[in-house]
């Protein structure tokens, strides 16, 4: 049966083009790959190659014709042995792509057909049995213990990064791991964040469970393509066949006097990416329970620590297997007059501010978000319904911060409960300065938090 040759689309955006020249004429024999015509698209002049073999039976569109729509019949190809008489019975042109059909046929507004984003139920924290011994532990030790426990439990878990093995960790988070687990599972890498992040993701795609330590998250900008384009998107791009069970962890945000390139908080950056979980603990117990959960999680988890918090002591329950749910906020202190939401090092300002405000008779509910993505907004909303007032606290830059995201969503979901505009306390909109006085000015202060809470309470 004769075959129709159609006006091809030769770019992602082409809808019509000029048939500038026929290279073959009626009666010519063509085989696949032969150039039969030249077409001018919106971008360039392109050659049209034959796919099927045969003899050009008829040219339907004259050379030089402009505005020929894509999929218009431009010629008819006869198969071996067919005569031009067969042209009348040419096979019907293939149907127009169905891909475009829904938009054309569906009279409803487009938004009506967008499925609702599924709600994720996150379990509450496990109960800690009465009488459990609480052990004063630094965040540093808690993180180390979490990794060691998970490495004992699962031979597929390993740590890689700069100075994690022989040096015992640039910040001593991996102290003792080399001695216990050996060089195969505690892997010193060269200083090549982009490369070893990719190696980690590749190993995770094949089923291992890497913990990739960045000496700081500032250096992970070299590797951010692998974190986002490879780790976070593969599960979706593979239709669920293949993911990356990997943890990227290390200190994030400002330390002290280390200047602009070593002092950035990346929580809001990573929190924008579907396919990632983003955890940012404050206490040692949360650091331990959430890191254990992150290592077991089948998804890529960005685990943001803080150098200043590493040495701080908190009580950690002495339990064989203390694992906390990712995606659940923790009410650090109950209160009724106003809500503060913070996370990570931001909590240090919030905790002090709450104590000062208490002296002045303002009873603040303090929520430690713990996980930035998925965000436990229900806990925040519940609190705002009670207090009617909200202040967020973080060290990161103010534009598109985690706080502005919370403010937006609270405005959308609990507007009627708000008695005052939400205030967001963040770092200043400047690269981190080195000078001690300027650095102090660039970071949030307890005074700013206190002032903000008073403002929303109209006091």
């Amino acid at each position: 049966m004769p075959i129709d040759i159609l006006m091809p689309a030769l770019s992602p955006t082409m809808e019509e083009g000029t048939l500038s020249k026929w290279v073959k004429k009626e009666g010519d024999t063509v085989k696949s790959g032969d150039v039969i015509a030249e077409i001018e698209t919106d971008k360039a002049t392109m050659e049209v190659e034959a796919v099927d073999e045969g003899v050009i039976g008829k040219l339907l569109v004259e050379a030089g014709t402009e505005n020929v729509k894509v999929n218009t019949k431009i010629a008819i190809l006869l198969a071996e042995g067919e005569s031009a008489d067969a042209i009348g019975s040419a096979a019907p042109a293939a149907e127009a792509p169905k891909a475009e059909a829904p938009a054309a046929e569906d009279a409803k507004p487009e938004s009506a057909s967008v499925p609702a984003q599924p709600k994720v139920e996150v379990a509450a924290d496990p109960d800690i049995p009465a009488g459990t011994e609480m052990v004063s532990t630094t965040v540093r030790e808690a993180l180390r213990d979490a990794m060691a426990e998970e490495m004992r439990r699962d031979g597929d878990v390993f740590v890689m990064g700069e100075e994690v093995a022989e040096y015992q960790g640039a910040y001593k988070i991996t102290q003792g791991l080399l001695q216990e687990f050996g060089a195969k599972r505690v892997v010193d890498t060269p200083i090549t964040e982009h490369g070893f992040a990719g190696i980690g993701v590749g190993a995770a795609m094949s089923g291992l469970k890497p913990i990739v330590e960045f000496m700081t998250f500032n250096f992970a900008m070299q590797a951010i393509d692998q974190i986002i384009n490879s780790a976070a998107k593969t599960l979706y791009m593979s239709g669920g066949q293949m993911g990356a069970p990997i943890v990227f962890r290390g200190p994030n945000g400002a330390a002290a006097r280390v200047g602009a390139q070593h002092s950035q908080d990346f929580s809001s950056w990573y929190s924008q990416i579907p396919g990632l979980k983003v955890v940012m603990p404050y206490t040692a117990a949360d650091a331990k329970g959430l890191l254990k959960a992150a290592i077991r999680d089948p998804n890529p988890v960005v685990f943001l620590e803080n150098e200043i918090l590493y040495g701080q002591h908190f009580d950690v329950p002495k339990l064989d297997d203390f694992v906390l749910p990712i995606g659940k906020a923790r009410i650090h202190r109950k209160g009724k007059d106003a809500t503060i939401v913070s996370f990570g090092i931001g909590m240090t300002y919030a905790v002090k501010a709450v104590a000062e405000l208490e002296k002045e008779g303002i009873d603040v509910e303090l929520i430690d978000l713990r996980t930035i993505r998925p965000m436990d907004l229900p806990t925040v909303i519940e609190s705002v319904k009670k207090t009617g007032r909200l202040v967020t606290v973080e060290e990161g830059y103010p534009q598109n911060s985690v706080g502005t995201e919370i403010a937006t969503r609270v405005m959308q979901q609990a507007f009627d409960y708000l008695d005052a505009p939400v205030l967001t306390i963040a770092g200043k909109d400047v690269p981190m300065p080195y000078a001690a006085n300027l650095e102090k000015l660039a970071l949030p202060t307890v005074g700013e938090v206190v002032e903000a809470v008073k403002t929303v309470c109209y006091k």
Binding site: L10, M46, V51, E95, A99, H194, G198, G202, M237
Partner: protein
């Protein structure tokens, strides 16, 4: 690998006691091993499937069934087919976005690949990946990546996992002459050599990084030498001759399985089509393309051999052609008629 006999590409012999293991040994001309009848017939069939599939994909693109970017492998078929003929079950394959040929060679279903190109629910990624993003755990194919060079680090990670598990598998990471200039490629070379990871780095040198010829983009255009600084041996291979590719692959796989670490195979190849469907390819002459097609076509080479040696008659080859066309037509029919993914798929497969 033989290390002492070959001269380096610059023409100088390596110093006798040099620590460098880099060689540049060409599997062309007299060195090219012969294929038996079965191998030639197999290679013919496999390469023809890729050629016809890609031609059909180009046609469906022209008809608007395939959107976005679509990078065709036509001309380079011998590379992936020759490699695959040497690999064993469990060896992993990873590549960039010119990936349809790799998937077919790995044994992934033509229907599944074509339906992914048209964005339908029967596609290998349920229509959510597209031309550049397909994967198969079962066939050990790890994508399908759209960021130039990223697959090299990922492939090195697959090799890391093989070493970690102490298994016998080798990771085969494909990238182009364009990707060969990316920084993470060298970060990966360093770690692969340092840790003696079982990986074959395949540089598919098709002479053009999109529209920029190797001469305009690269200071050392002998890509087999790109591992010199890391002590990674490299071999230049006639990537238009499936026998040369298979022979190089056999040696490289043996090298990796013997625990000697990574190796680079530079495949000298050529793509007949533009970089993607919308590339008019004005950066090279028609004569250049025509010359490669008429003189070095990987499929014609095998076809001529089969006829010359009397291993297949014209009629038998026609029967194979028809068989392949039927497979491709079936995949295209499926890909045009399969429904689009259900709207409910929008929010699935984001997290496990």
């Amino acid at each position: 690998m033989a290390q002492t006999k070959s001269a380096s590409a610059s023409g100088r012999k390596p110093a006798a006691k040099s620590a460098s293991k880099t060689v540049s040994k060409e599997f062309t001309g007299k060195n090219t091993p012969e294929f038996g009848k079965d191998d030639d017939l197999h290679a013919y069939r496999e390469m023809l499937l890729i050629r016809r599939f890609e031609e059909k994909a180009g046609q469906l693109y022209g008809m608007g069934f395939i959107g976005g970017f679509c990078h065709l492998y036509i001309g380079q078929e011998a590379v992936v087919v020759g490699m695959q003929m040497a690999q064993q079950e469990g060896d992993q394959v990873i590549t960039a976005y010119r990936d349809h040929g790799h998937m077919l060679a790995c044994g992934m279903s033509p229907r599944g690949v074509m339906a992914e190109l048209t964005g339908r629910r029967g596609g290998l990624s349920k229509g959510k990946g597209g031309s550049m993003h397909m994967f198969s755990k079962e066939k050990h194919f790890y994508g399908g990546h759209g960021i130039v060079g990223a697959q090299v680090s990922l492939g090195t990670g697959l090799a890391f996992a093989n070493a970690y598990r102490n298994n016998d598998s080798v990771s085969v990471a494909y990238f182009g002459d364009g990707a060969a200039n990316q920084g993470q490629v060298y970060e990966s070379f360093n770690m692969a050599a340092l840790w003696k990871l079982p990986i074959i780095y395949i540089v598919e040198n098709n002479r053009y990084a999109m529209g920029t010829s190797t001469a305009r983009a690269t200071a050392q255009s002998n890509y087999s030498m790109r591992g010199v600084g890391f002590g990674i041996p490299g071999v230049q291979v006639d990537g238009m001759d499936v026998r040369a590719v298979k022979a190089a692959a056999d040696e490289a796989l043996a090298h990796c399985r013997a625990g000697k670490g990574p190796i680079i195979l530079e495949m000298l190849t050529y793509r007949y089509r533009g970089h993607s469907m919308s590339d008019p390819a004005k950066y090279r002459s028609k004569e250049e393309v025509q010359k490669m097609r008429s003189e070095q076509d990987p499929i014609e080479q095998v076809r001529n051999r089969l006829l010359e040696k009397g291993w297949a008659s014209e009629d038998e080859l026609k029967a194979i052609d028809k068989d392949i066309r039927d497979i491709v037509t079936d995949s295209a029919d499926f890909a045009q008629n399969d429904p689009e993914p259900d709207a409910s798929e929008l929010y699935t497969d984001i997290l496990l």
